[in-house]
Amino acid sequence: MRKLYIGRILYNIGKFALRVIVLSVLVFTISRLAPGDPLYAYYGERVEKMSVAQQEQARERLGLRKPLFTQYARWLQGAFHGDFGISYQYKTDVKEVIAARIGNTLILGGLGFLLIFVLALLLGLFCAWREDRAADRIICRIGTVTSCVPEFWLALLLLLVFAVWLDWLPGSGAYSIGKEGDVADRAVHLVLPLTVVVLGHLWYYAFQVRNRLLEEVRADYVLLARMKGLSGKQVLYRHCLRGALPSYLSMMAVALPHILGGTYVVETVFSYPGIGTLAYESARYQDYNLLMVVSLLTGTMVIFCNMLAGIISGRIDPRMRIHSLTGGGEVRGC
């Protein structure tokens, strides 16, 4: 049993590594196939004043004239030693560029994700419980409206009302100048961006939870559970929730990088220094090294969260354990 457990862990780690490497090959190839000239990222407008020979020289220096395979091999070699190259645009180590901003994004996106995760579940449960009654209908209407409002518009509106007219909350940045370590100051700066992130995504996921639960509520086993003497609410969270959770988890596993990395609009409107802007700019200006790391960060997160969701789902619903079809009840997913 113990041996089996370690074997499964090693197997999963191997699978994880393989997926990350395949992903890096894909991102590497696709970014280089896209049209555009990376020299613009490095030299900006000055490229136009350079002679062809100078341009070729610059390419040679950045290692862009070698065959694609050699370029990838060199990148991979560097990556294994923790060297991800320099950003063409910022002309410093990619790690430094990202390190300066990733904390901000993790705070905004991470908090947003946690809030969405919990609130969507609660809201979905509540709506499923009150199916088609007044409360459910009102929430459904409001939810549809909020999820249809474009993020930038909502962001601008909130900015106008709370930062300009009422002047209750700060409208830009992640912290006031000189107060970098002040938690309260950071929290105040987070309120508006966080509201936009949560409102933009919340209803979509809550609605999925609601619908998944309503599917479960119509299942036969609900009648048997009610025959035991359970109330509708008890059946909902003791029985139906268990059936709906695996699909919610796998959905949220994909949603995590989506919410974390999808903060671009919010970051722009609130001048919030995060990696959302970086991701966009690096793709726009062929900043290959930066693009690689940003994409790999999000991609690794998707892969990791999917595996995690698979494992948790297997614990909730035994039919989802990979080996349970042949092994009877004894084999557990790890």
């Binding site: 048997l224 509708g232 029985h239 059936g243 619903d317 039919r319």
Partner: protein, 253 residues
């Protein structure tokens, strides 16, 4: 006094297209310890009859007229809370498809234990496990300890139905509704489950309402038979009486 009396029960479904009368003035009574077969073709209102007595109908269905009387007490206007009390103790029900009636995400032991806990909240964990094993033994499931850890998808249809029956029995009901409880099973298993019902009646003295469209099932297990057609109860009587009449009338269902 009869255990359960139903008088002039009419139930309608209110749909956007209009009213659909599912039950029309149905009256019958159930005696202590008897097995009553409710027989009729698909869609004649057999299941609706059971579910209206248990108040498990969807919101669009309403009881229009009639009385449901349990041991002399009228329960037609019982609230959901009162019904819950009754469902967990007086009534129980077994369903047509045992594979979908069990929650796929819970081990069968857990599901039986849940019913036991609702009925006897004072039991310790160990006593509850004992009671679960007892119930599983009662419905003829071998190796209760091992079986309890299994999930529904690991059981055969017959075993799953025995688990459902164990859950129903946890409430120590006076009336068990078996809604097509043998229909989804193959013939030999059908016979075993019917024998189990007869055996359980002997042991516990409960009454069973056996809903079926299979005359063989009714003839084998029932004391009395009620015939239904188009939402109406067209006849009720002892097994021999009813079958003779059916043959006589030549309108076999």
């Amino acid at each position: 006094m009869d255990l359960l009396e139903v008088e002039n029960l009419s139930v309608s479904f209110y749909r956007p297209e209009g009213e659909i009368e599912a039950l029309k003035k149905v009256s019958f009574s159930l005696r202590e310890g008897e097995i009553l077969a409710v027989m009729g073709e698909t869609g004649c209102g057999k299941s609706v009859l059971c579910k209206s007595i248990l108040k498990l109908l969807p919101d669009i269905a309403k009881i229009k007229t009639g009385h449901i009387i349990v041991r002399g007490e009228e329960i037609t206007d019982y609230t959901e809370r009162q019904m819950r009390e009754l469902r967990g103790s007086f009534f129980s029900m077994v369903f047509q498809n045992p594979m979908t009636a069990l929650n796929p995400c819970m081990s069968v032991g857990e599901q039986i234990a849940e019913a036991v806990r609702l009925r006897q909240p004072g039991l310790s964990g160990k006593e509850r496990q004992q009671r679960v094993a007892e119930l599983m033994h009662l419905v003829g499931l071998d190796h209760p300890g091992e079986r309890a850890r299994q999930y529904p998808y690991q059981l055969s249809g017959g075993m799953a139905q025995r688990c459902v029956i164990a859950i129903a029995l946890a409430a120590q009901p006076s009336v068990l509704f078996a809604d097509e409880a043998t229909t989804a099973l193959d013939v030999t298993v059908q016979a075993q489950i019917l024998d189990l019902f007869l055996e359980l009646r002997e042991k516990t003295g409960m009454s069973i309402v056996l809903v079926t469209h299979n005359p063989g099932v009714a003839a084998r297990a029932a004391d009395r038979v009620a015939l239904m057609k188009n939402g109406e109860l067209t006849g009720i009587g002892d097994v021999e009486e009813i079958f003779e009449e059916i043959i006589h009338r030549q309108n076999f269902i």
